[in-house]
């Protein structure tokens, strides 16, 4: 029997049987879209004229001089429309939903970035949009909730379980299994059952393709190190994917170290988790001895999730990508440093990547690209609460 959507041992399709038909439908629609030049033309047009791509690759001169190591570049995904890389896969999936004739879209969101991007694309394409969001996250991200409402989406509070991202995905999947014939599930990362991890990666891989062109224009050669934060893993895979074959380039994925290494205090799946099945895919997950998924913690809501995209699991096992973690305190310090030295308020997620880059031992001629996956406006209130 053929099994689909595997990355080494990981990935696959672990869903209630009712969802298998829509997944097959989605895969067929995606394959057809991939072969259709008109689909790509429309997506490229939206990337360019709606979202503002290509996003700049910015040489961070003051960080470079302050850190005294390699030459630091920031890939400015924060300058996308809606302020993060999430718009890349939402535009792609939105066009696909239209192609499939679906009139209603559902999405899950943690911090609200994917929810806002989904609501934005649904407004643009005239689709009805329901976003599942944990009650705890609604409380923490009031502004994004209002943003989604302004954009015409309905935000549905999720009160089950830990009332955060994990539970929002549970609820979105329950909605999908119920309304499967009419609804498109706009999943927000390289997670879930096949074809989502592949499809979302393909839409995000525009990041790495642009970096390749931009860095050659600026430096005349490819970078030495790529650094990105890893929640579900969409911005990191987006940066890495085009460079996986360039074995000379070091790639570092940064997970949330949270409050510390105790289970429940962090979201570092590779150091604290084991392979298992959650939300339709086989990958590393944070679970207890009985296979129950455990709560996670990170100062950054976008990294606060117990599983990681299955392609990262295989990149981890083969050693192609090195996964590290940065704790809350280090991330906040990097957040401050980027504000002060470069005049850029980064998302707390992206601040994890910045903190990791600072730790690297580099010679002055080495080139580092950090994916600045989102802007930090959404985090200002939370940071104010923490540091005053």
């Amino acid at each position: 029997m053929s099994t689909k959507g595997h990355f080494g041992d990981y990935g696959g399709q672990f869903v209630p049987e009712t969802l298998m038909h829509p997944l097959e439908e989605l895969e067929a629609a995606y394959d057809a879209a991939q072969r259709d030049p008109a689909f790509h033309a429309r997506l490229d047009d939206l990337y360019r004229n709606y979202s503002g791509r290509p996003t700049p690759l910015y040489f961070a001169e003051r960080l470079t001089s302050e850190w005294g190591g390699g030459r630091i570049y920031l890939k400015r995904e924060d300058l996308n429309h809606t302020g993060a890389h999430k718009i890349n896969h939402c535009l792609g999936q939105g066009l696909l939903a239209v192609r499939m004739g679906k009139k209603r879209v559902i999405a899950e969101t943690g911090a609200g970035q994917h929810g806002v991007a989904s609501a934005t694309v649904c407004a643009l394409l005239g689709l009805e949009c329901d976003v599942y969001m944990g009650e705890e996250d609604i409380r923490r991200q009031e502004l994004n909730v209002f943003r989604m409402k302004l954009l015409g989406a309905r935000v549905i509070p999720v009160s089950s379980g830990s009332k955060t991202l994990k539970d929002s995905i549970n609820e979105a999947m329950r909605d999908w299994v119920t309304n499967v014939r009419t609804t498109y599930y706009m999943l927000g990362s390289v997670l879930g059952p096949h074809p989502y991890p592949t499809m979302v990666r393909d839409f995000q891989s525009v990041i790495g393709r642009e970096v390749r062109v931009q860095i050659i224009e600026k430096e005349g050669r490819l970078p030495d190190v790529l650094v990105a934060c890893v929640g579900g893993g969409s911005n990191s895979i987006g940066l890495f994917y085009d460079f996986v074959q360039d074995s000379r380039i070091q790639m570092i994925g940064v997970e949330a170290g949270g409050r510390g290494p105790k289970l429940g205090d962090h979201a570092a799946r590779f150091s604290g988790g084991r392979p298992g099945v959650l939300h339709g895919t086989y990958s590393y997950i944070l679970q207890d001895a009985d296979g129950q998924v455990v709560p996670t913690h990170s100062v950054s809501a976008g990294l606060d999730y117990p599983a990681v995209g299955p392609e990262h699991a295989t990149l981890h096992d083969t050693g192609r990508v090195t996964y590290t973690s940065i704790d809350d305190r280090e991330a906040l310090a990097a957040f401050n440093e980027l504000c002060r030295l470069e005049g850029i308020i980064p998302a707390l997620e992206s601040a994890h990547a910045v903190a990791q880059a600072k730790k690297l031992k580099l010679s002055p001629d080495q080139i580092v690209v950090i994916n600045l996956s989102g802007r930090g406006d959404k985090d200002v209130a939370e940071v104010m609460r923490i540091i005053g």
Binding site: G12, E17, T18, L19, M173, R174, G276, Q287
Partner: protein
Amino acid sequence: MNRIEKAFARKAFIPYITAGDPSLEVTRDLVLAMSAAGADIIELGVPFSDPIADGPVIQRATERALNHGVTLAKVLQLVREIRKQSQVPLMLFSYFNPLLNYGLERLAKDAVDAGVDGVLASDLTVEESEPYRSAMSRAGLNTVFLAAPTSSSERLTTIAKASTGFLYAVSRTGVTGERQELAADLKEFLATLRHHTKLPIAVGFGISTPEQVRAVWQEADGAVVGSAIVKEIERHIGKSDLVDRVAAFSKWLRA
């Protein structure tokens, strides 16, 4: 002929309860009482933290069980105890991760030793099931898979081939939970299923009244009732007559 096959000698009534809701002792008493009240097979839910195929009633039961520290190992111990007093066919009903985490070979061996008759994991697709099926079938456990109204004809063929004991037909799209009406296209769906399998067919999801049980029996070989029974348990938590009440409810459904 194994216990599950024998259960389909008549139209089967198959209640589902979440193991450990409200406690493992009560679950044991419920199994014995429902068996005496006419249950032909009993599905024991092994709780998982993220039950994506379940509606609110079973989600709450799952939370109650997990809050009491119910694990797969404890459910197997419970089955061992039940087997001292009853031969009612027992199915473990769970999600894949707790089973995988326990170890598939180890689970197959321990489940058979304990007296389990079959296993169903609601998020395990046939495509991903090969190691699981070979471990379970080598040990002599039935592997039941779900067939959905959205399943293509090709999928129904593979699902029927992978299932042993019986085939579980999901009555409609959606999560577990009571519904006022059976799905309009159920009859047609079951007729299609019959073309794909000689196994008995049990229907579940949304069945909550004796009328619905009888209607399902017209077209299929068994009726599964989950949320309605779990809700009856929930309603009587903390009361001394919980087991009697739920057994009476179960008897009413089977009538």
